[in-house]
Symmetry: C2
Subunit: 463 residues, 2 copies
């Protein structure tokens, strides 16, 4: 008999983890909703023709591919076998698992272009799959929670993303976080003024690592990538902007990059976005301008966002930006959009490490009814009905066992209240309510129990 195991890089989420995860999902969903984003779900399976070529060569290799049904190898020849996996795959697999939420969203927009009202604001909270090497904090199946607006280039959307980030993290109880913001046009301007116009992508790959490897190694990498000493000398101001006030950074960037038109446009966008945030009335902004932020650049054309939780050493917990050509790969060019993605798994890790889950979030059953015998069980059933009708999550212990066993069960499951019903209780109608946290007991009528439990647990949730 085999011992069952889980595939590498995947996880089960038991009851307590799930309740805390549901708290995160609910919080993000409520915020998305309040900001006017609409829900969308796409299938886990996509045609490989939809996915392939959208994530670079490395991404293509990390796609999980689904073996065709039926006699998948019927047309396969020995030549195919020898051709290697890249040539063989299309012959035996035509579907793959979703790799992110952005490409399926683009496909959806293109397929529904004639009926969608623009600008289209959608959110999507679903798992994605990547055949990455599993390691701490990196899984092969994980959730993304994305919100995007497409069909407008208004900077109001950038401002709203900044506002939404603040609201999500504050509603989760994460207060010490930083929203880093940059703009691809500024990176393009930097490339111009240091004398390597158009090379901002190469530049970004290196400076993206500043946090991890430090300034000297970044310069070494740029040298290795062919940047001249003059270019590196001109780049020096970049390393002085970190951790300063936004206004100061904007001023200094304006001076440094004044010769670049594209940088000027990027700075205007950044300034306007921050003004809109201010006019909205955001209290205690956590925004920081970081001209080294690139997030791999990939398809970003304007704003770039990244969020870090400051009290833990976990990478970014959220990121996004503006792209001008989301749907171009599917034959619908020129559609601009901007989006943000929240990484639930990392947010969970942050909250667990900082002990931020509210007491009520993990609460399952509130009341266990523990009857001592069959007669007591008959009294229990209508009480169970009353408690549930009053929205109090309740259970009746299903077997007739010793009281200790029922109390152990309540303890193991963190059930805060137990109603004990023996022959005394049946005769008098006065039931014993035991508070498992304090150990105190009191006698109550059945119809008083729901009200008391609700009152006490609500008071506790507010504490």
């Amino acid at each position: 008999m085999q011992k069952p195991t889980l595939p590498k890089g995947t996880r089960d989420f038991g009851p307590e983890q799930m309740r805390n995860r549901l708290f995160i999902f609910d919080t993000i969903r409520q915020t998305f909703k309040r900001f006017g984003f609409q829900p969308l779900e796409t299938p886990s399976l996509e045609n490989l023709s939809t996915l392939t070529g959208k994530y670079g060569d490395e991404g293509d290799q990390l796609l999980f591919k689904i073996l065709n049904s039926g006699d998948f190898a019927a047309d396969l020849t020995e030549t195919d076998l020898q051709a290697g996996p890249k040539k063989m795959t299309p012959k035996i697999a035509e579907k793959g698992l979703r790799y992110d939420l952005t490409v399926p969203f683009a496909r959806y927009v293109v397929m529904n272009r004639n009926t969608l009202t623009m600008p289209f604001r959608r959110y999507q909270m679903q798992p994605v799959w990547r055949a990455d090497r599993p390691q701490k904090g990196r899984y092969r199946e994980f959730y993304q929670c994305d919100a995007d607006v497409v069909g407008t280039d208004s900077l109001l959307c950038e401002a709203e993303i900044i506002l939404m980030i603040h609201e999500v993290f504050r509603n989760l109880g994460i207060t010490n976080f930083t929203v880093k913001i940059n703009n691809r046009k500024i990176l393009a301007g930097i490339a111009e003024v240091i004398g390597v116009p158009g090379e901002e992508a190469t530049l970004s790959v290196a400076i993206d690592k500043l946090d991890k490897i430090g300034k000297e190694k970044v310069l070494d990498e740029l040298r290795a990538r062919g940047f001249s000493e003059t270019a590196l000398y001109n780049l020096a101001p970049l390393f002085d902007f970190l951790n300063q006030e936004a206004d100061l950074v904007l001023d200094q960037l304006q001076t440094w990059l004044s010769a670049s038109d594209v940088a000027r446009r990027g700075l205007v966008e950044l300034t306007e976005t921050l003004q809109l945030v201010q006019q909205y009335g955001l209290a205690d902004s956590r925004v920081e301008i970081d001209p080294t932020l690139a997030r791999g650049l990939s398809y970003y054309t304007g704003a770039i966002f990244e969020v870090k939780a400051n009290d833990v050493s976990i990478g970014s917990v959220s990121g996004g930006g503006r792209y001008d050509n989301l749907t171009g790969a599917f034959g619908m060019p020129g559609l601009s959009g901007v989006g943000i993605s929240f990484g639930v798994d990392r947010i969970y890790d942050v909250m667990a490490e900082l002990n931020l889950f509210p007491a009520g979030a993990g609460q399952g059953t509130l009341v266990l009814i523990a009857p001592f015998d069959a007669e007591a069980r008959r009294v229990s059933l209508p009480l169970l009905n009353q408690l549930r009708a009053a929205q109090v999550a309740s259970e009746l212990y299903p077997d007739l066992v010793k009281v200790k066993k029922m109390l152990d069960y309540a303890n193991d499951k963190n059930i805060p209240y137990v109603v004990l019903i023996g022959s005394d209780e049946v005769q008098t109608g006065q039931l014993t309510l035991k508070n498992m946290n304090t150990g105190t007991q009191q006698k109550l009528l059945a119809e008083e129990i729901a009200a008391l439990v609700k009152k006490e647990t609500m008071a506790q949730a507010i504490d």
Copy 2:
């Protein structure tokens, strides 16, 4: 440029569908929670060794298999190619997609046997995948919502499932439904008394089709399967039980099956279950005893449940039963449990056909702010903040466009309120709130708008 498509048998769920689906998910989840069930999620990917052999030969063929990463064909020979898909698959695929929620649940229980508190009540709401031929109402990716109790054989669990079914459907607004109930022991008893002991599985395959093909064809099928005319003659009473009062059916079954011990045990279980339901205080029970109900029998050993919505011709919307050996395949025998599965996709179809989605369920954004110019937009931003702080889902139209375009946008998105802000409004501070359903307009101060919208929409939700 390719035109993107969806894989066969899969679907996108746009905003309106999603809001209605979320209403169903939330309703089921709240009910599960109130009944003391705890959330569990398992990975979409399972080892094929976990899945294979659990669903019969047909099921094995319907599993979606994941191609191994990297050079999956490295060790493949021409002999493997010729051996056919069944022999070749294990060499190139070691993982598959979840086929149902029961087998992953069993795997979870076995892997966590030392830490789980029994009885263990869990619910699970996740998609499953089957490489079935797509057809109306049958998809390759669909959701299951399961609740199970394992580690007890108390009939209270059966009773609770009946209660939970009533609550879920009533909370959804589906009032005309039937909960059919049977017991495998009764089917075994029927096989005994008609003279084919142990043949209840064969018997069930045929009588399961009674609804679809009628009595005569069922008898023909039994003849073809080798049942004697005497056996069929003895079976006659079975067809007289349908659509009668539960008590009457129990009486008649007791008489008919009095010679069978196992039937008697089944009837006692059924009677006790219904008594528990009654003691709980279920109003207007929709339970019907149906001794022909088998649901393929598969692993059921006691109670069998099925739910039908009566006003539409859609198959069963929910089903389940008791099994005595959930985890036996994973080396942990003798664990009894009972469960129920709600089919969200069919429930959605029923509710859509009967127009049962409550008006509020599909509501997205409540207020669109429509500024006429840049100056008006400055006034809009703090108002947007106020509305959201008051939990009113709100948007600000992001571009400066003609008023008509903004009103069209609100209409297309079914946004019920628009705040119009022109230069008059900026000067006087009196903003125009337009009710898009009635067409009426009124002048209000910014701080009055949230309260009014909340009051009106709540009144409407109660209507």
